[in-house]
Symmetry: C2
Subunit: 344 residues, 2 copies
DNA sequence: GCTAAAAACCAAAGCGCTTTGGATGCCTAA
DNA sequence: TTAGGCATCCAAAGCGCTTTGGTTTTTAGC
């Protein structure tokens, strides 16, 4: 069923039917009603491509997910973020176009999306410091919104970020307040912008307590369960092991816990663990007292809000690029406790 | 830059340029070369919508992910599966259109994709027994491929599945061979087709060892970490607790391990745990001897292959719907061991 | 009853591509 | 020399929609 068939059926012109369906005023109330009823009855929806061709918009947002070629790792955050964004899109009549491409093909992928006119805008994931994607997008004129920030990008742009620095500085202070003086950091890859901010927050927190930053107890890599495990084993084997660990992701923290428990160490007593928690849906425990003390910020909610930001930007491009800075909530769970008395 | 501009630039007709770019023979080699060079130089790609309008195809595949409205849970498998599918799509020039919709709106969503002509086919996720989506898709004539199978659907259709029954029967036998007689099952929701097959395999395995099926030690729910934990705590509190647990998902198994370790029980000695492992990228440990004994099957690979199956089906619809049955690999890790001597 | 304005509707152009159905020029064979 | 056959190229129609620039019908005002 297409417009012509529907209008023939109704004995109206395509113009009138189109207008009736799109809410233009030049149609009488009764005709509009008749048209809408008929459209519903015959499951008519206008052809996306034809509509897009005519209007010059695609009503679709692109997500280009860069994938590390080396071991095809998918960021576990991704699913929840996407779910949030998808909710916003469907509420606003947008489709979501997803591509996962090798790091090296990202630029080409953006260019193609733009020149093929497949999307009205894109979400930029996992920004790095001085992210080259933003300059490219500025250059080709494709509207975008960034999940996180890209330090070093001069021009104003649209972003949503968690206040990572503040969160990790507060987390560190929380630990120093408990008497911890030797606090390890298990961070994400520090080419990523958020990781540098978390690190900065961590260092601020240490300095505020008069503790020297010790690179020997700082780790940084892709945030897998295995990395958390490996790092912890490694830290425990040190001459002066930390009494607390600050972790950048819940997945990682699961590995930390495994390493500790395997060695008969109890979280919160023998080792304090404080992790960032993206509130991933499948890791929710629903317990009243959470297992982990955590800086918490829902990545699903981030997806919802950032998508809205981008849509707003697309529909009113003249206004200044909006941004949102979310504060993480520091929730106290059972994984932290006072530092052991230093009776070495 | 559009076709007209490019052809004007080259002093050729749109026809010739179009043919040159699409590899038709009615163009001299030198002209084709000249055209392709110019297209590259000016970053020309044909407008997707216009091309789609003209050809009647969209070169896009839809993924409609149903989301349980109750707590907006995203299946953690999803990201890896999607990554696999995305790889196939980009290799074949397809785009991926993703929507996440409330369970109740799935049918409407398919209808809309079809009537708007947004996709050439769809992937069906998480099929249930007698899944109504398949009948709908048959009815509206939208090509599809199913990740898993839908018992009860009469007509042949395109699918890719892990042999869940065989995997879980072999897993159960592995445990009975070790002397276990009381084996619990922590399964996914049994409205889902794969869960019923796993259960059937489990029951087969028990029967083969002459063990009665005991519903008291069988659990079934959404496969979260919390569910694994809860179930295990619960099983351990029984008068006659199991000596082994068969788990349907790695995420769940993490919860099982947490419950055990919290109680000072050691996997493989005090309790044998065997889990299905979808080889999720962020849970890879890379250890030579894996922590968990598992029936293993890469869901990423499933995504890659199923996408290819669907594309084949779209490009040659006349052939019989193809399907693939993957066998899971049973890998022995450190989480299983002989049953404790029954010296009750 | 007549005119002007407002309301309701319509024909056709145009979005950027593919593809049909020719044209045009050149070469070969009779 | 000329017709036929190829190899190249092109003009224009058509995909399904929106939108411009009308035309026709009603309504309102006097």
């Amino acid at each position: 069923m297409n417009l012509k068939q529907l209008s023939d059926l109704l004995g109206l012109s395509q113009t009138t039917v189109s207008r009736a369906l799109n809410g233009y005023p030049e149609v009488s109330a009764k005709t509009r009603d008749r048209v809408q009823r008929a459209a519903k009855e015959h499951h008519y929806s206008p052809n996306t491509r034809a509509k897009g061709l005519a209007t010059g918009t695609s009503m679709a947002i692109g997500h280009v997910i860069p994938m590390a070629a080396k071991h095809e790792m998918v960021n576990p955050i991704f699913a929840d973020f996407i779910a949030g964004a998808a909710a916003t899109y469907s509420a606003n009549g947008y489709d979501m176009l997803l591509s996962m491409v090798d790091d090296s093909k990202v630029a080409q992928s953006y260019r193609s999306l733009q020149s093929r006119g497949s999307v009205d805008g894109v979400i930029v994931h996992s920004p790095t410091v001085n992210d080259s994607r933003l300059t490219l997008l500025d250059e080709i004129g494709l509207p975008y919104a960034v999940h996180g920030r890209a330090s070093g990008h001069g021009d104003p742009y649209c972003w949503l970020d968690v206040n990572n620095k503040s969160a990790f500085s507060r987390a560190t202070t929380f630990l120093t307040d408990l008497g911890h003086r030797r606090i390890a950091l298990i961070n994400g890859q520090e080419t990523l912008d958020f990781a540098t901010r978390r690190r900065a927050g961590y260092e601020d927190g240490l300095r505020a307590a008069g503790i020297a930053v010790d690179p020997a107890i700082m780790r940084s890599d892709e945030m897998t369960e295995a990395f958390g495990y490996r790092s912890t084993v490694n830290l425990l084997a040190m001459d002066a092991p930390p009494t607390a660990i600050l972790v950048s992701s819940m997945i990682c923290a699961l590995g930390v816990r495994r390493a500790l428990e395997e060695r008969g160490l109890k979280m919160g007593r023998d080792m304090s663990v404080l992790t960032h928690d993206d509130a991933l849906s499948y890791l929710e425990t629903g317990e009243t007292i959470p297992a982990f003390t955590a800086t918490r910020s829902s990545v699903r909610e981030a997806g919802e809000k950032l998508a809205q930001l981008l849509i707003d930007r697309i529909t009113s491009p003249e206004s200044a690029p909006p941004h949102i800075l979310l504060e993480a909530v520091l929730t106290v769970g059972r994984s932290t406790g006072p530092a052991p008395q230093s009776g070495v």
